[in-house]
């Protein structure tokens, strides 16, 4: 008889002991009274929904999916997942055109990069913004990330760059994500430069699709599952067949593949999960094992503050990024208090969320404004958009900072011994 031998039932919400600490850490509650908070929306609400699905509360849409409640929970309740699953299972409202446009980052990206100058110019025009607000519900006060004229994949697939990669002894695959591909290929180029310098050849996955985080948060679950399955197949090929671990520069892409795939999309990733990680963690652990060395320029001097994205908090990985930054001799480093910036991917783009979004990030913006930092370092692209729009302080990914501060020649030399 196995009766009550296992405390963990399928319904993880039963482990909630109502300590309410999640509610204290929720960034939405202080700025949006319509949101009932993670305890009410998650474990408490789930009991009602099990009784009668009509108890699904539309105000659950105000959840950012930042997962800070899960980080705070001492009982291991996956509060954020419960709320996301409730939205997936019980919501009657179908995704609007706006949600589909925001969610399909790779489809929209493909179109936009082809005519990037026109798109970038138009998205900056006040009349265009007003029309988008009125017709689609995308807030007119929001600044759009610019689209690049040439995608990262296009740049990478140029003969000489791709060819060069097979000359290395050690190899990784790079999950670049939509942002690097369509908006900011420079980050991808920085990663290739950095990895090549430490003796790793960089490869693309056979077929990379958007990780699907925006599809999940906009309720397009079937499409997310389909894309997730395609990514899993590509990652499996890289990790299991080609023995190439997969690294990424976007904390959200990694978080989605590692945690949201099994928890929300029902995709089992147990065989490849530990080989899919953030580039900074990958590098730091190699340095710690003495398998990689980084040599930095003597004259690099910057004052940097680091912002912890919510999904980095959930992954528990900001320590890897910040430790690498602290290795640069000329860096004056300060850690900002860990808090949500308010953008939460596509959330902050929606007109109905704009006030909440900016309200959540206000104290962070104030802190950055007073910091006199040269720039903010962070691992998340949407945090970057939010902070740059709200503070005018430039934001850089730690990988780009490392690439800029790197003494490329000396690093190559230092890593030669590992590449024999």
């Amino acid at each position: 008889m196995n009766l009550q031998q296992y405390n963990i039932s399928e319904n993880n919400f039963e482990q909630c002991i109502k300590c309410t600490v999640c509610t204290v850490y929720c960034p939405v509650i202080p700025v949006n009274p319509k949101y009932p908070g993670p305890k009410q929306a998650g474990p408490d609400g789930e009991r009602f929904r099990l009784k009668d699905p009509d108890y699904f509360d539309v105000s659950l849409k105000y959840c950012l999916n930042c997962k800070r409640c899960e980080v705070a929970c001492p009982s291991g309740v996956r509060i954020g997942d419960i709320i996301q699953m409730a939205r997936i299972k019980y919501s009657h409202s179908r995704p609007k055109l706006r949600d589909r446009l925001l969610a399909n980052t790779d489809f929209v990206g493909q179109l936009s990069t082809k005519v990037a100058p026109v798109v970038n110019f138009s998205l900056g025009l006040t009349p265009v913004k007003s029309v988008m607000d009125a017709v689609l519900g995308i807030d007119h006060r929001r600044t759009f990330p610019e689209y690049a004229s040439q995608t990262f994949e296009h740049w990478f697939n140029q003969r000489e760059i791709k060819k060069k990669q097979s000359a290395f002894k050690r190899h990784v695959s790079y999950f670049h994500g939509c942002y690097v591909n369509y908006n900011y290929p420079q980050l991808g180029k920085d990663l290739v430069k950095l990895m090549n310098a430490v003796g790793f050849g960089v490869h693309l996955l056979e077929k990379e699709r958007c990780c699907g985080v925006a599809l999940i948060s906009n309720g397009l679950i079937e499409q997310a599952r389909k894309q997730g399955a395609q990514n899993m197949a590509a990652i499996r090929k890289s990790v299991l067949d080609e023995k190439r671990p997969v690294i990424a520069t976007s904390s959200t892409c990694v978080f989605t593949i590692r945690d949201e795939y099994p928890h929300l999309l029902g995709l089992d990733n147990s065989d490849i999960r530990q080989f899919t990680e953030l580039a900074t963690r990958f590098l730091y652990r190699l340095i710690e094992r003495n398998e990689v060395k980084l040599v930095f320029k003597e004259d690099y001097k910057q004052k940097i503050v680091y912002h912890t994205p919510c999904h980095m908090e959930k992954l528990g990985w900001s320590v890897y990024s910040t430790s690498l930054l602290k290795m640069i001799p000329g860096v004056d480093f300060r850690m900002l208090p860990s808090q949500c910036c308010g953008i939460a991917g596509t959330y902050g783009f929606k007109s109905e969320n704009y006030e909440t979004s900016q309200g959540i990030g206000q104290s962070l913006f104030d802190d950055i404004g007073q910091s006199e930092a040269d720039f903010v370092a962070t691992d998340c692209e949407t945090c970057k958009w939010q902070i740059e729009m709200s503070t005018f302080v430039p934001v850089m990914n730690p990988i780009s900072i490392l690439a800029e501060a790197l003494d490329e020649e000396a690093t190559m030399e230092a890593n030669k011994e590992f590449c024999k």
Binding site: N2, L3, K18, D44, R47, F48, Y55
Partner: protein, 545 residues
């Protein structure tokens, strides 16, 4: 003594369970002047300690046709007159590999003969209908089972009795009878709140005290042989099933799983207890094990689902007069006219029966009262809806200011009476109980309109403290509101302390895993942060002096 106490009532009813409340309603609707006396709070006996199953009667069909047909009739009546206390979930009688599948045909035939709709369905359809059911089932029969909230059902009867002029008193314990030769003319009562003796006079006294009716009859000088049968049950933290699950076999232990409100309940066991134990029911570890072992067969996920608490009630079974050993015990209704039976006039007893047949029991008792008082008015309780079930659930729009789920739960619990709950102030719709969505407005409504005078009474009226936290967050908030009502914070602290101890009593038999963690957190909050243990110690010192 006020004027009301001096008057002679047509009928005095002893007992504030479903039967007493139902009799008070029926008598008052027929124009009689009524006094109801309850020694504690309403529903503190067997009425509040059962499955909350709205029987279709199918369970009794094979062995007790009479009870079965009473059940199905009352089932259909309650769905009409008490719609806000009833959930029409429907029920399944499943045959497992260890059961005899041939019993199914006999079962269906008996159900149909008793007037119960019973239809065999494909086991695959049963799994679709109720995904939590044991997947190895061999057969399934659908019957019109449901669930009923006995607390709100009883209060609705009290409210309607009051609306028809009945006087109902809680914490009034009958301590003796006033006799004039062979006639009972009144009762002696101890008022626990005012700590004083009182006397009330009535033409007919109805003993509706359930299992305690044995003692009441003794006070009147007559003998009823009650046979106390204890039944233990377990409450799980949330609904595992949305359809009532039964075993299709001869009725046995722990073979009914009922989804009730936010939770589900597995039960029951059945064991004889001696009469002096009935005021102190506890659940043993072997009962818990039995309930889990059998419950798991109905719905396997029960074995990993968090248990909220365990409780036990006593069935008021009556050994028939020619069988004092109690071997042939009927679960049917027992109405005793002590004038005919014992030569004692002015005194009748209504007992036996089930929660399901409370209204019919009340009708029988009232018919006899009316016969004695030469009242010819017909019974209307089967057709007149109770307060709360008088409609307008769907029509009224939800207010936009208050979260919809709060309004939805208020309507679920109080029907159209939810409109009486104060909503004007923001404070009114702030939550007292977060697990069960009980607002300050609802708590104050229960204090003012539903005769809730203690935290336990408040729990029965509103479900405060019945959720997963078992009082951890809500009890102190509710005690704060209670202190405003009584204008006394000491009394509220005593209430808080006894309420939490009562919650712990139910958690104790199943205190492991998350339940234990939660109770430890609650104990830490109340003892260390709120200083309740210091308060108790001080009280003890005072007592010692």
């Amino acid at each position: 003594m006020n004027d009301k106490d001096k008057k002679e009532y047509d009928v005095i009813i002893i007992g504030g369970g479903a039967t007493g409340a139902g009799t008070a309603r029926d008598c008052s609707m027929r124009g009689l002047s009524v006094l109801l006396l309850e020694r504690f709070d309403y529903t503190s006996g067997a009425t509040g300690r059962n499955h909350g199953l709205l029987h279709s009667g199918a369970r009794y069909a094979v062995n007790d046709m009479e009870s079965a047909s009473e059940c199905i009739k009352e089932n259909m009546v309650l769905k009409k007159i008490a719609s806000h206390c009833v959930e029409d979930t429907s029920g399944l009688f499943i045959t497992l590999p260890e059961d005899d599948l041939s019993y199914q045909n006999k079962f269906i035939d008996s159900c149909l003969a008793a007037g119960i709709k019973a239809e065999a369905i494909d086991p695959k359809d049963a799994i679709r209908m109720e995904p939590s059911v044991n997947k190895s089932l061999q057969g399934a029969v659908v019957v019109p089972d449901g669930s009923v909230d006995p607390f709100r059902l009883t209060i609705a009867n009290i409210l309607d009795a009051n609306a028809h002029g009945a006087r109902t008193l809680v914490f009034h314990e009958v301590t003796g009878f006033i006799r004039e030769q062979d006639r009972i003319v009144g009762v002696k009562v101890f008022d626990h709140k005012q700590k004083e003796q009182k006397s009330f006079y009535g033409k007919v006294i109805v003993n509706a005290a359930g299992i305690w009716g044995h003692h009441i009859a003794e006070l009147a000088g007559v003998n009823i042989s009650m046979y106390p049968a204890k039944g233990a049950l377990l409450i799980f933290g949330h609904r595992v099933n949305n359809v009532v699950l039964n075993r299709c076999r001869k009725a046995g232990d722990a073979d009914i799983l009922v989804p009730g409100d936010m939770i589900c309940v597995i039960g029951t066991t059945s064991s004889h207890v001696s009469y002096d134990e009935i005021d102190n029911m506890y659940v043993t570890s072997s009962e818990v094990e039995l309930l889990l072992r059998e419950g798991e067969k109905l719905a396997p996920s029960l074995s990993t689902t968090r248990i909220l608490r365990a409780y036990a009630g006593v069935r008021p079974l009556v050994a028939s007069d020619d069988d004092p050993t109690g071997r042939n015990i009927s679960r049917g209704i027992v109405l005793l006219d002590h004038e005919q039976r014992d030569g004692l006039s002015g005194f009748i007893t209504i007992t036996g029966g089930k929660l399901m047949t409370y209204r019919l029991m009340a009708e029988w008792a009232t018919d006899l009262v009316c016969k004695k008082l030469n009242n010819n008015k017909e019974c209307e309780t089967a057709t007149t809806p109770l307060p709360g079930s008088r409609g307008v659930k769907e029509e009224t729009e939800y207010s936009e200011v208050i979260p919809v789920n709060i309004q939805r739960t208020e309507r679920y619990r109080h029907g159209e009476l939810a409109a009486q709950i104060a909503k004007e102030d923001k404070f009114d719709h702030s939550l007292v109980c977060e697990c069960e969505n009980v607002t300050v407005g609802e708590v104050n409504y229960a204090f003012q309109e539903l005769a809730a005078d203690t935290l336990t009474a408040l729990r029965r009226r509103t479900r405060i403290g019945m959720g997963t936290c078992q009082g951890e967050l809500c009890a102190c908030r509710a005690a704060g509101l209670l202190s405003h009502v009584h204008q006394c914070s000491n009394r509220a602290k005593e209430e808080l302390s006894s309420f939490l101890n009562e919650r712990w009593k139910g958690m104790y038999p199943i205190a492991w895993g998350d339940c234990l963690r939660e109770s430890q957190l609650a104990a830490w909050i109340y003892n260390s942060v709120c200083g309740l243990s210091d308060y108790n110690r001080k009280e003890e010192r005072k007592d010692a002096v």
